[in-house]
Symmetry: C2
Subunit: 585 residues, 2 copies
Amino acid sequence: MHHGIGFIQDLAVVMALAGVVTVLFHRLKQPVVLGYIAAGVIIGPYTPPFQLIHDEQTIQTLGELGVVFLMFSLGLEFSLRKLFKVGATAIVAALSEIVLMLWIGYEIGSAFGWSSMDSLFLGAILAISSTTIIVKALSELGLKRESFAQLVFGILIVEDILAIAMLVLLSGIAQTGELSAGVAVVTLGKLLLFMTVSLVVGILVVPRALNYVARAKSDEMLLVSVLGFCFGFCLLVVKLDYSMALGAFLIGAIMAESRHLHRIEHLIAPLRDAFSAIFFVTIGLMLNPTVLLDYAWPIAVITVAVIVGKIVSCGLGTFLAGKDGRTAMRVGMTVSQIGEFSFIIASLGLTLKVTSAFLYPIAVAVSALTTLFTPYLIRAADPLTQRLGRAMPPTLANVFSLYGQWLRSLSTGSGEPTLFSMTRRIILQIAVNLALVAAIFLIVSYSAPYTSTVLAHWVASEPMQRVVLWSIALVLSLPFLVAVYRKTKSLALLLAEVSVQPATAGRFTSAIRYAISDLVPVVSMVGVFLLVAALSGSILPPTGLLTVVLVCAALLLALVWRWCVKIHAAMQIALRETFEEQPDP
Amino acid sequence: MHHGIGFIQDLAVVMALAGVVTVLFHRLKQPVVLGYIAAGVIIGPYTPPFQLIHDEQTIQTLGELGVVFLMFSLGLEFSLRKLFKVGATAIVAALSEIVLMLWIGYEIGSAFGWSSMDSLFLGAILAISSTTIIVKALSELGLKRESFAQLVFGILIVEDILAIAMLVLLSGIAQTGELSAGVAVVTLGKLLLFMTVSLVVGILVVPRALNYVARAKSDEMLLVSVLGFCFGFCLLVVKLDYSMALGAFLIGAIMAESRHLHRIEHLIAPLRDAFSAIFFVTIGLMLNPTVLLDYAWPIAVITVAVIVGKIVSCGLGTFLAGKDGRTAMRVGMTVSQIGEFSFIIASLGLTLKVTSAFLYPIAVAVSALTTLFTPYLIRAADPLTQRLGRAMPPTLANVFSLYGQWLRSLSTGSGEPTLFSMTRRIILQIAVNLALVAAIFLIVSYSAPYTSTVLAHWVASEPMQRVVLWSIALVLSLPFLVAVYRKTKSLALLLAEVSVQPATAGRFTSAIRYAISDLVPVVSMVGVFLLVAALSGSILPPTGLLTVVLVCAALLLALVWRWCVKIHAAMQIALRETFEEQPDP
């Protein structure tokens, strides 16, 4: 019981000060997050009276648990369903914000003469707004249910995904020193593949497993199972060289589709609150106040850039996507701060040792200042809109209002499925099935060094081992290959129907249509085979044996075709059911 | 983000396995705690396939957090109010159980030829039943609301307090090697003083502070404040050389008097469940299965001794305290296991390096076996009682039933306050006030080395520094001294009234009564002065200056007497209010 005293003392100092600080900052009507950071500075190594923390490493570890729980909670609040709803507007606004802020950050860094890596990380730090701060500010101002707030949440969801892509890309750039287009495409492709497969498999497995656990009505069991999934998945993700933050977010998004979402949120909230408090305190611990004084000028410039840049970029994006000026202004002024993601990105730069030491305190200072302004900016949105409206020249106002009318006239659909929406749906299904096939072959390839040593007991020759492994992968992916074939066929039919008109093709119409609808799937399957062969290079059998395997597979397929279709349909239905099920209140 | 991978991997392994195990053990209808321990053994260093834990130290630290949260939760469920209700029966039963099991444990250890320290620790390990296991077993069997269950909870509360006293005594014995009666009295006296002062001051301060925090209706704020108080108090307790377990339990008991008890329980439950799972897994980690095989014989003997010993000792205690045979049997069979406290005591022995390595695995094995039997024993209580009743010789049954009738005839009071109950109340109040006075002087004495360096700026001479410090302590304790004086006076009046009867004292009756009621308080205050002088030896001014201080204090007292009385009354009322307030549902 006695060897943990140093640690318990640290925890006591952190929690006791955090407790005082929450109450104090709540009285001052300031965000508690700022209070935590201030508490961290006070007990940190850079400020008098003396060193209050003994075992900084353990506190940092607990802070990392805070990041896991924070990202997991963000994932729980994320929902594919919600994302589909806000759709286009949120994507346009988020993209315009991130691209512009990345550019502004990079330019500011370059203007101050910082290294290009520092400038790039500064851009990334400024790009993403803080979900935590915004959710708290909106609910404290009582605006959480307004329609612009829903749009803001949509933007935040898109930003979260893009931020994760950015984390992965930044790690790549930091390690290789530069970013070629090819590497970026492969990196993002791998990320997309991983996310798709995780989401599909996760949504098929995890909510069902949790339903089973939840039947026991024991909060302890549910909590321990949720944590087991959460940390288990984080471990898998870390082993694949992605960040824990990504893992926690993804498994949260998967659990968001569970019927027991609200119970899970309830159980995780205390863990998140306790450890995110520690996380924010550790941010303060790393903050050297003298650095802030040395860099007062950049901090001021960047703070102004964040506020103005985000209002303009996100507001403009919202407006261009078809919302009215008032909504655009409110959205822009709500997202005008940086927060937890900026800290994660800044500490990524420090951990990878590619950024200068001053970047982290600058990020914290800018986050603190912009967070401080957030509630005032949100409240100032409406008066400012009115003032701008009055000050605007009439011609300009006219142009704006015409643009809005034109855009709205475009989007008045009849609600019937259009050709575009139908093909989009089929293409999405093909992509998901291809992703699953690719994942199966990749997993079998990666596991080959381990499995082949086991296989060696039964199969001596190395080519035969490959045959066995490749056949296993092929058999496992048969249902998805069949699905790809069938979806491609129906896509080809649809396209043939539309593109080959009797007016032009005359009496060959139906012949050409048949040709297209038969040819396209076959050609596509050849393409799929080439893709699979490329992905599974390390376990691809020699050509002779490969032909034998393929012939056997074709024979097998003839036998189990209907069974494959059935299996796939069952999975698709299960997925759709999980999606459409509303969480219990 | 990347330097915590080893740690996150450990946590992932622990939580994922714990998750699987909860579900499995729930299906097998076995206590989940056993599953956690089994999971610990599997991933531990002593079992194949390989070492799954990298950073055992950090996991152990998290397990210690589990102990803190577990003891804090026990404290929250503990309640002085509940303790007053079950009162005498619980105390008799718990005392009889602890004394007998201590003796049985010591004798078994000696019989196996173990060292006397091992035998003593074995006794302590067997003495305390497991609150966690019992609460879970009773609620799973649907017996939680029955009257024997209420009595069991009372016994568990008394056991918790006695266990804490035992922890303190064992630490003392372990460090000095033996226990003299004098040391035991001083140790227990100090513990009692510390607990009394903590409870009184804590109950005056903490629930009020939490009420203030809770007004903000933010779960995060309340949780962080609760954790701040919890770890802050644990730190204080550790600094005073008591165990963290004691600190967590006491602050829990203090918060149990808060109006927001249920909200706090709700917020702490996930933290407790998550970290106590880790704690139980760490117990398994420390378990070497081969040791279990080597010590199979002692384990079997001790397991039987625990089950039979506890049924007999606790059952008999309950019966002797006036309950019927059936209740006694049910109580005895419910408490017949050992659990979390045994682990804490066993690891105390290991940490202090006074017990042999084999004691810990034996404790764990016996706990696992007895836990396994608990639900069956509870269910077997009624059939066994009937069988015993039938098998018992009629004369013996007659004696038992006569004893019960006699005891019940004793306790049929009229409900009016008796002389005994009135004096008991006054003596309790005097004791509490004396404890507070003693605590004030002790705190000022202990802080003298630090404060006198500060004082040196204003007061140069060392005797004058003592005068200042001692005067501060005296002024601070004035309200309590006045209270002691007034309570002693009323006690003296009461005793004079009763003991001096006109029949014996004749015409001197009222004179003698006056003499007693005036003399006793003065004599007592001299005694109090001697006590205070002894406690504050290090800051006691020289005799000449002391006389001056006392005269000044007497003059001051004449001025502020009424104010002191008022202050004390206000505190007393505040304390009573906090006690009598029911927690919000």
